[in-house]
Symmetry: C2
Subunit: 543 residues, 2 copies
């Protein structure tokens, strides 16, 4: 059987544009002599549509798309992810795979396992499918699953009842081919885990297994594509492109030879962030990006990502020195801009900063300078960035990293201004890794940016290390506490650091919830980002 | 049977403080000769704990609380909401009622219906209870339910299977008393609906039914308390205080005579907002509130709420005139401050505004003044408010209303600055209602504030009506589209307005998602607020 795996990049709710991509893939399938065409989960609507699923008009539009796919299915079998009304379910919809053959809708295979953890809220909208069946398609007995249906993630392991697991059900039926339609978001650990999951499924079902994944950025989420074909022994036989659209044909009777699985490192993380930024801008109509360049490593890395995402001529830097800026911070910004061939403006913030200081002096009498004056500087820079954005239509990119966001080491309405927080799920140490990767062949980011100790330069002689522990310790604690949910006491023991330090860091993480709640959305590249997948009360007294 | 209904105000994760309240209620129960004591849903942890439920330490702390309640239950029967580990469920926890009798834990009645709509994500954490039973307590057969267990909300009506409904199960068993532990948040429609729900339950089960509700503000959510006792015919026989802690005794054999149910109007809405603000400040340790007074009705109403919440001496106003401010806007702000007896500073924004204009002039050459200059003013005001907050520790209250937030008629990092958006779930017309209610006995808010046409005063002669339709139309469309999810076409027909107008408004609602995502949390007083209960993609092309 010849199968075209159509790894598409839909835009949420852009039904016409999504249909154009789907129809183009069907034409390609016919050209290439495919029997079966696979599309990702919710290919008609884009994933995740969130509360758009509650709008009656949205459901009608999705239903019309399905009709159009059916009308264009001559001489093809198609399995495509979409939504359908649930009859008798405890929610109004199913997340489903429509099975179509040569102009006819054969039926639906509904998603059974609906994730309700991290960024996933599928039980908010969907009723679970009730049972798995085999479909006789192109002469083979095919099992169909959707994304989570083949997973056994951590949150389910507690007492998960195997009888309801679609793979367990299918194992009793003996499929000859397993298909999985996915919208499985990227994280730097996920790619390998996804392959393992498919391999385990293939081995259990003893049949060729194919995962067709969405690609593209949608708000915080980056879908890496990277669709997979695994044989009945669990060997990887084909894979779709990472971070770009793809449509590739395989013949189940003549699979390509086994191939090695390549994991990514810093280059992969970079590609993910480029895709996330490019799609955020492209899908929302922004052409140009504006970045405040501080001479530091965070803004330098963001500028490099932006140049790859939208091109050097569409990226503008501004360096905004104050009395506390070192000479090197302007120089490094200008060197970076030269290396990247981007425009860079220099707008010193002293005049408005001094003006505000004078204006507020009567109200600050008898009070020593403190974080207030630091924030005044950061917010003046925010004013300038936003004014340039308003006047010229640039998207402001905020440049805070995950370590800073965790600690609240950022000024709300200051350096936190922006439409997208490009690296707010990237720890400080990973930012350095990205920078070294960027500089692997030539010096793009000035060496002095990489070498100087990190500083916000908002007060005389200030360094990050004045208020934060060493980033090696901080980042290790953050991964353990935020991503792995390890209790503070165990973290202290594991890393042999004082419990009081860990408790202080944990306290600061939670006390700064209020800042992060007002942060721009950030691109998610770990299994637990500061985004819609992490939900803590602002006001609470536990930590 | 004598029952003490302990309508407590817990703080999320404040286990010690919550336990102190619980133990005090147990002492009171013994003093008053109660047989049974009822507490709200998740009384030990506070509701909603959100992702704190994923932390192992948090679960241990909750378990210790339960042990302490058991140890202090001599001569009492207690039904208290808490969490417990799930054995064999598809999530690690149950939301449960612990049933305790004279030093012994009799068992648990788990919540069966776990809401996953609007602000509720209970399937993210909890496995559903499997069946309802009767408990022999103090000589009566008692049915125990938790919040949603007695509801049949809209989202469940689609094909909801009656066999799984706890009330249906209990109906077969014939309880003599029905108990419901709730953490049911306030909205101005909810209070009456909650009574109807309990009345329907009582009539169906033909027994006295008691709902014990949490009170207090937790982030966006306001719990109104207002616990209810309904007899077997469905007559209201007692109710707890609204918006304050309460612990009241009823005797099931001698219920008080039937009483009328009183619904609230503007005064009730005002009380809700006062509680939400007071608890947000009190639970997070803020003592003083800072408000930018524009002379308009929104900031005036917020100032009145703040004075009721934390007292006049803890509220500071700042009026920040510019070249576009009318004389009356400063005058009205000062009159309001006098009437409220709050301090009011006047800090004109002209110096920093002009300074920024000059600084940016070279980059704005050939471009006409536009929203950029308006935003510069609003953000300069934001700078001043935040600097005063940083220096003096005030909480800045943002004053945008729901109609503005829907339209994006607000400046991000400008008037949207603040720790809490007090009235961002109150429509413009309701703001006027609140103002009239505030002025019912004497002029607190200056008459001219009520009479002048709304204006942001960010450009010469500007009025809201220049860029927005009449608020009567706007607010009606917003309720229909946002709260009721009516399709645009039907809204246009219903209100006899052009479809193009409705579509434009709907488009503006969705295009401004990016602003609201960075807004401070707001107090929720409707069934669909701009908060965690409304989840739309920022980038989408449907509307």
């Amino acid at each position: 059987m010849k199968i075209l795996i159509a790894q598409l990049n839909p835009t949420i709710g852009a039904f016409e544009a999504n249909m154009a991509k789907i129809l183009a893939a069907l034409d390609l399938a016919r050209e290439q002599g495919a029997d079966l065409v696979l599309f990702p989960e919710l290919a008609t609507t884009g994933y995740p549509p969130e509360d758009l699923l509650l709008l009656p008009d949205f459901l009608n539009a999705a239903a019309k798309c399905l009709d159009e796919v059916i009308a264009n299915s001559a001489n093809l079998t198609i399995i495509i992810g979409t939504i359908r009304l649930s009859i008798g379910g405890d929610k109004p919809l199913h997340n489903t795979a429509a099975v179509i053959e040569n102009g006819k809708l054969l039926g639906f295979q509904d998603k059974t396992l609906l994730p309700t953890y991290d960024v996933f809220d599928e039980r908010r909208y969907f009723a679970p499918g009730e049972k798995s069946q085999l479909w006789n398609l192109c002469g083979k007995k095919v099992g169909i699953t959707i994304c989570e249906d083949i997973w056994e993630p951590q949150d389910r392991q507690v007492g998960f009842d195997e009888h309801y697991h679609p793979v367990s059900q299918l194992a009793l039926l003996g499929p000859q081919l397993l298909v999985n339609l996915s919208a499985s978001p990227y994280s730097y650990e996920k790619k390998e885990l996804r392959l393992h999951t498919l391999v385990r499924t293939a081995q259990r079902l003893k049949c060729t297994s194919i995962l067709c994944n969405q690609i593209g950025g949608n708000d915080s989420l980056i879908f890496d594509g990277h669709s997979l074909v695994v044989d009945s022994s669990g060997h990887l036989r084909a894979q779709g492109n990472s971070f770009e659209e793809d449509a590739f044909l395989i013949d189940t009777e003549h699979l390509p030879p086994p191939k090695r699985f390549i994991t990514g490192g810093a280059g992969e993380l970079f590609d993910a962030l480029v895709l996330g930024l490019r799609d955020y801008m492209g899908k929302s109509g922004f052409k140009t990006a504006l970045i405040g360049l501080s001479g530091g490593i965070d803004s330098a890395v963001v500028a490099c990502i932006a140049v790859c995402a939208v091109g050097a001529k569409n990226v503008i830097g501004i360096t905004m020195p104050s009395r506390y800026s070192s000479e090197s911070s302007v120089e490094d910004s200008l060197s970076l801009a030269r290396n990247l061939q981007i425009e860079c403006l220099t707008i010193p913030i002293e005049p408005p900063f001094q003006c505000l200081e004078q204006l507020l002096a009567p109200y600050f009498k008898g009070k020593a300078p403190d974080v207030t004056e630091e924030n005044l500087q950061a917010r003046t820079r925010g004013q300038i960035l936003m004014a340039m954005s308003n006047k010229h239509g640039h998207l402001v990119l905020s440049t805070g990293n995950k370590s800073e966001m965790a600690m609240g080491y950022a000024t709300l309405y200051g350096d936190m201004c922006g439409g997208l927080a490009v690296i707010n799920d990237v720890s400080k140490l990973q930012v350095y890794e990205l920078a070294r990767w960027i500089n692997r062949d030539q010096e793009v980011i000035p060496k002095s940016t990489l070498l100087k100790p990190p500083s916000a330069e908002l007060a005389e002689g200030q360094k990050d290390s004045d208020s934060l522990p060493d980033y090696a310790i901080l980042d290790a604690v953050l991964v353990a506490y935020i991503e792995k949910r390890v209790p503070p006491k165990i973290i202290a023991e594991k890393f042999e650091i004082p419990l009081s330090l860990v408790e202080d860091l944990v306290h600061r993480i939670h006390r700064n919830e209020y800042k992060r709640r007002q942060a721009p959305p950030g691109l998610r590249v770990t299994e637990k980002a500061f985004s819609i997948g992490r939900r803590f009360p602002i006001v609470q007294n536990f930590h």
